[in-house]
């Protein structure tokens, strides 16, 4: 009897183990495929099925931490010339102090990837453009360097390349005499990656930045946006920014 029951237990374990394994075999590829469902083959056009966005929690943004800025500079080869007035800054740390209460906080400020970007409206040649997935970019081949987009951007998010460039990175082409700004690390996003700034923020365990698809209701960013009260900078302009903030 005891021998039989031992066999039964063994059988039972074996069967349930097999069933779990089989179920796992069946589900995992689905989960996996679902995950890479975001990545599109390079030949396919960008669609408006996704809208990339970012949620920044200013409460988690550590004062004195500059990791997102450093990561961006490294990622795009923004080396600078120690001339802060003319060196490019695609993302910067901004410190806010309430004039009434004295409460201070910091947050990273970058291109807000607006749904209705003023930079795109004013660009005479169409060099400033918005992809269907919401990423606002500059086509460096047709930018004439008039800087009207920089006049129009309410976030001061754009930089003009004031210098001769050297040692450019292949995935982040720049152009002297043209305007540039945060690309949401489009070269990473198109390959299913996350922007360098977000990665750096997570690496430090600050997790103040979440990147994802605003159109996907099950994405982490959508969940957080649903749960918490968030705001847009200069919401009065009704630009429907892709970058949202908590805690301001």
């Amino acid at each position: 009897m005891s021998e039989e029951s031992g066999i039964d237990i063994y059988r039972r374990r074996f069967l349930s183990g097999s069933a779990t394994a089989a179920a796992g075999m069946a589900i995992v590829p689905g989960v996996f495929l679902h995950e890479i469902g975001h990545a599109k083959p390079a030949a396919d056009p960008v669609t408006s099925d996704v809208r990339w966005g970012m949620l920044i929690d200013s409460n988690k943004c550590a004062e004195g931490c500059n990791d997102c800025v450093k990561a961006c500079n490294d990622e795009h080869g923004l080396t600078g010339h120690d001339r802060p007035a003319t060196d490019a800054q695609w993302i910067r740390k901004v410190k806010l102090k309430d004039k009434q209460t004295g409460h201070t906080q910091t947050l990273p400020l970058l291109c807000q990837h607006c749904e209705h970007p003023p930079c795109v409206d004013v660009c005479p040649t169409g060099a400033s453009f918005k992809r269907h997935d919401g990423i606002v970019l500059v086509d460096k081949h047709i930018c004439i360097g008039c800087r009207y987009c920089m006049m129009a951007c309410p976030y001061k998010a754009r930089s003009f390349v004031h210098e001769t460039l050297q040692d450019q990175l292949p995935h982040a082409p720049r152009g002297k005499g043209t305007v540039e700004s945060c690309t949401f690390c489009v070269h990473r996003v198109d390959n299913d990656g996350t922007p360098a700034c977000v990665e750096a923020c997570s690496a430090e365990n600050h997790n103040a930045m979440v990147f994802g698809d605003l159109n996907d209701t099950s994405s982490e960013i959508s969940k957080q946006l649903r749960q918490h009260s968030t705001s847009q900078i200069r919401a009065d302009l009704q630009l429907n920014t892709g970058v949202r903030y908590r805690g301001i």
Partner: protein, 404 residues
């Protein structure tokens, strides 16, 4: 009215010396543009904070003045004041040359001036800049046709129609120029509908000031008679325009002052903005508006010297006004976080500093030089200037019967 006799100005050594002297400024400007493009814009005073600098001040001034310079012709063709008719050709010529000078500065300051052809072939029709590219090139064509109608006797019957078209076009053009700033929602000092009409009235004033100066200089140079009748008419009109600009400036600031959200930027321009406040009160209002009014309408108003000085001061005041609008408007920090003190490595929350560099000034003056050189050469090769503008040639009372 007597038949007006138009003649080219004399050639010879003095003419070439004049063109050569102006040409030096044009060459210097080309050198400055090359220097800025070769090194990149970091060698200028411009930065990621003050994006448009002195070249834009000159460019916008010249473009605004260009449309205003056409007014004299419009008064003759559209409003039937025949006393202005002998001046209409010069008015049309100056309108084109000033525009060319302004556009040259604008293009040479681009980050990629070599891509001018891109600006001509790629259009984003939502951009006011793109509209302006068409308005500017169209203006030159329309005024060119207008001049042809005026200068070709067989075509004279079409002068009024062409003049009307040019008049409407120039109003549209200056509306477009003012809207470059009027449409900018991002910055506190811009984003105001009054920009468009204010730029129109500014064009009346700056354009006429330049017209009077060029007219007097050319007639002195060519040693042709220029009577008081026409000069006094023009200077009285200039006074009206200077006062009208002042009115618009007051309306703009009063409207802004009423809303609390604009108190910061108004305080900056009117009270504690350092150089911008000084430029506003001393140069734009004092030297550039009130003093010319006193000179034009006061006892000195009969003197050619004082009239010239008044015109010059109006121009200086106009440049200061555009400097304050463009550069002052950028120097004041953008209001992104109301109620907060803002600081960053990117000059957020602080007044941006800007010191114009020499190459920027040289490029700006080069635009003026291009306009003047083209005007002088134009009057040499074609019949723009009447042989005489003496009082007996220009009957100011003729318009009443003509208009009736």
């Amino acid at each position: 009215m007597k038949q007006v006799d138009y003649r080219e100005i004399e050639g010879g050594l003095p003419f070439y010396m004049l063109v050569g002297a102006i040409g030096v400024f044009v060459l210097a400007a080309l050198g400055a543009a090359y220097y800025m493009e070769h090194n990149g814009h970091w060698v200028t005073g411009m930065s990621n904070q003050v994006i448009w600098g002195t070249p834009h001040v000159f460019a916008v001034f010249l473009i605004v003045a260009a449309s205003g310079a056409l007014n004299v012709a419009s008064i003759s063709s559209v409003f039937g004041k025949t006393a202005y008719k002998p001046l209409a050709r010069l008015s049309g010529l100056l309108a084109i040359t000033l525009l060319v000078g302004g556009l040259a500065v604008l293009v040479l300051d681009l980050g990629r001036p070599d891509r001018l052809i891109v600006a001509m072939t790629y259009y984003n029709f939502k951009s006011i800049f793109a509209w302006n590219i068409m308005l500017y090139t169209g203006f030159m064509a329309v005024v060119g046709v207008y001049l042809w109608m005026m200068m070709e006797r067989k075509m004279n019957t079409f002068t009024r129609a062409a003049g009307m078209t040019a008049f409407i076009w120039r109003l549209t053009l200056t509306t477009g120029t003012g809207s470059i700033f009027g449409f900018l929602v991002a910055r506190q000092a811009f984003d105001a509908a009054i920009m468009a009409p204010m730029f129109i009235i500014m064009s009346f004033s700056f354009g006429l000031a330049i017209f009077i100066l060029v007219l007097m200089a050319l007639y002195k140079w060519a040693d042709r008679p220029l009577g008081d009748a026409i000069v006094f008419r023009l200077k009285n009109l200039l006074g009206v325009f200077v006062a009208a600009v002042l009115y618009f400036v007051i309306a703009y600031h009063l409207t802004n002052l009423y809303g609390t959200e604009n108190h910061g930027v108004e305080r900056f321009i009117l009270l504690d903005g350092g150089i911008y406040t000084q430029l506003f009160w001393i140069v734009q209002i004092g030297i550039g508006s009130l003093l010319p009014l006193a000179l034009l309408y006061g006892p000195g108003g009969k003197s050619r010297l004082w009239i010239s000085i008044a015109c010059l001061l109006t121009i200086i005041g106009g440049l200061a006004q555009i400097y304050i609008i463009i550069i002052g408007g950028q120097a004041y920090p953008m209001e992104m976080f109301p109620g907060k003190e803002v600081s960053s490595s990117f000059f957020d929350g602080v007044v941006a500093s800007y010191t114009p560099s020499l190459p920027e000034f040289v490029l700006g003056f080069g635009g003026v030089a291009i306009a003047l050189a083209a005007t002088v050469v134009g009057t040499r090769v074609l019949r723009f200037l009447p042989v005489s503008l003496a009082d007996d040639q220009v009957d100011p009372h003729h318009s009443a019967t003509d208009a009736a």
